[in-house]
């Protein structure tokens, strides 16, 4: 028999308690075990950085946020547009999809120096890296989504003498939205990863740069604070995507 579902109170309380237990163990157990603070600082020390160096953190959050957001929008938009082209032209899809596939097998870390060579040291290469990292999953999902209408749905539109663009707007696109949103959820995290990776390789601003500097200077509390902030950024983007998805997809 399947266990009974949790009450709503328990469903909220249990994960909070779980996180709290980990934080308490981290705060008191790790120092007891002799783990030095320059390797793993305590949660209170990390929280202290947010109070002490708030301006520094926000200054570095801003470029990463802009790069991740711009990369997210550009990468996904490009993927959606290319998917639309591909499902309407099997010839173009057959000719170019393998190349896209090959491109996707290049590790982003290997690709990043090339992108920085091309676009220099400003925000642009980071936006490009974030866009590239979002691009492929959305392209694949969007192609599948646009092709996911059933045969009888297509027959229905043909009986109604619908034009190609009517079929696109009234059938293919709404059919593709659930799959598009599932890749946007993934992209909300990977866009931040892309921006940070770009900042690692060539930047003195942004959370990625802060992570590198803090590591080299053994400022591990600052390093951990930057990590917490970048993960919060991903979570915020993810939540925005989910909120939009709930408004758009009602069924």
């Amino acid at each position: 028999m399947r266990p009974a579902p949790l009450t709503p109170q328990m469903a909220i309380a249990l994960p909070v308690l779980g996180a709290a237990s980990i934080l308490i163990a981290w705060q008191y157990l790790l120092p007891l075990l002799g783990v030095p603070a320059y390797i793993v600082p305590t949660p209170t020390a990390i929280f202290g950085v947010f109070q002490k160096n708030f301006a520094l953190l926000i200054d570095n959050l801003r470029p990463t946020l802009i790069e991740a957001l711009a990369g997210f929008v550009i990468g996904n938009l490009a993927a959606v547009l290319l998917a639309v082209v591909f499902v309407h032209s099997r010839i173009l899809q057959a000719a170019y999809f393998p190349i896209v596939l090959f491109f996707n097998t290049i590790p982003i870390l290997a690709l990043s120096p090339i992108i920085i060579l091309i676009f220099g040291l400003g925000m642009t290469p980071k936006i490009v890296i974030a866009a590239v990292i979002c691009f492929f999953p959305t392209l694949v999902n969007m192609i599948r989504g646009l092709d996911s209408a059933s045969d009888s749905e297509h027959e229905l539109f043909r009986v109604l003498s619908a034009t190609r663009s009517e079929i696109f707007w009234a059938l293919r696109l709404p059919r593709a939205l659930p799959m598009l949103f599932s890749s946007l959820r993934i992209a909300s995290a990977t866009a931040v990863i892309g921006a940070i990776v770009g900042e690692w390789i060539g930047s003195d601003k942004g959370l990625g740069a802060l992570i590198i500097q803090a590591t080299f200077n053994y400022q591990s509390d600052r390093l951990y604070a930057a990590i917490v902030l970048s993960s919060s950024l991903s979570i915020a983007l993810f939540c925005i995507v989910v909120l939009i998805e709930r408004r758009v997809i009602r069924y």
Partner: protein, 257 residues
């Protein structure tokens, strides 16, 4: 008035003219305008294929077919054909009302204002008045098929093609929808081609029942039901004449399988 359908020596198949697998072969069929034709046959006999040729969803390999006195293509572009699929094919993101109004939003020939107003009338007629803001996943199987029928009727088609529309429904719901369909047919005078697996349904609904055999599909039985029924294609399911006709159809179907 021209016949609703005139088909001569119709060959239909899949996979190109040379190596085609023939689904229908040498099919001759004439259907009078305004009549109700039931089509029975074993799986793979080409019942659905026949409907698809009439609806211009599929081109015949050979032979001629005219629908309402014109080519299937002309008739489709005039929006004179309604199609009801086995799965209701409702768009899950549209409400009941918006699904019924789908034909208003698409197609080269936009429908008139008058027909637009018909959507609420049709919803009432199909017993869907209280459900117009529901989404398809909130409906029962019978309600979904009612919506699909209302959508097919919105453009006031002269010809209604139904491909096992009630195949997935329970028997009580199916019987009720059969009666509703007959009422609609009497009111609208639309020609109906109704494909089904059920002998009882075919006999109860049709003014005429044809049985197709498989490999390749052809007409092996053509039964006029009108002498067995009362005025307006009315009968009771348990009438002796209907039961006898069902036995006759069953025998033909067994030979055809």
């Amino acid at each position: 008035m021209p016949n609703a359908i005139e088909a001569q020596k119709l060959d239909v198949g899949y996979g190109g003219r040379q190596k085609a697998v023939k689904v229908l072969s040498g099919l001759d069929l004439t259907v009078a305008a305004g009549s109700f034709l039931s089509i029975l046959g074993p799986s793979g006999c080409g019942k659905s294929t026949l409907l698809r040729v009439v609806a211009d969803l599929l081109d015949p390999l050979d032979g001629t077919i005219s629908v309402l006195g014109a080519s299937p293509q002309t008739v489709r572009s005039r929006r004179d054909v309604g199609f009801v699929f086995q799965d209701s094919t409702l768009l899950p993101w549209r409400t009941v009302r918006d699904n019924v109004r789908l034909p208003l939003g698409v197609g080269q020939r936009s429908l008139s204002r008058e027909i637009e107003d018909r959507s609420s009338e049709l919803l009432e007629l199909m017993g869907l008045g209280g459900l117009r803001e529901r989404l398809p996943h909130q409906l029962s199987g019978g309600q979904r098929q009612r919506v699909a029928i209302a959508r097919a009727l919105l453009g006031e088609p002269k010809l209604l093609l139904m491909d096992e529309p009630f195949g997935a429904l329970d028997e009580i719901t199916r019987d009720r929808l059969n009666d509703e369909l007959l009422t609609l047919w009497r009111r609208t005078g639309t020609t109906i081609l109704f494909v089904t697996h059920s002998i009882a349904e075919a006999a109860y609904l049709g003014e005429r029942v044809i049985v197709l055999a498989a490999n390749p599909g052809r007409v092996v039985k053509d039964l006029d039901m009108r002498p067995l029924k009362q005025e307006g294609n009315r009968c009771k399911r348990e009438d002796a004449a209907i039961v006898a006709a069902m036995a006759e159809l069953r025998a033909a179907l067994e030979r055809a399988s």
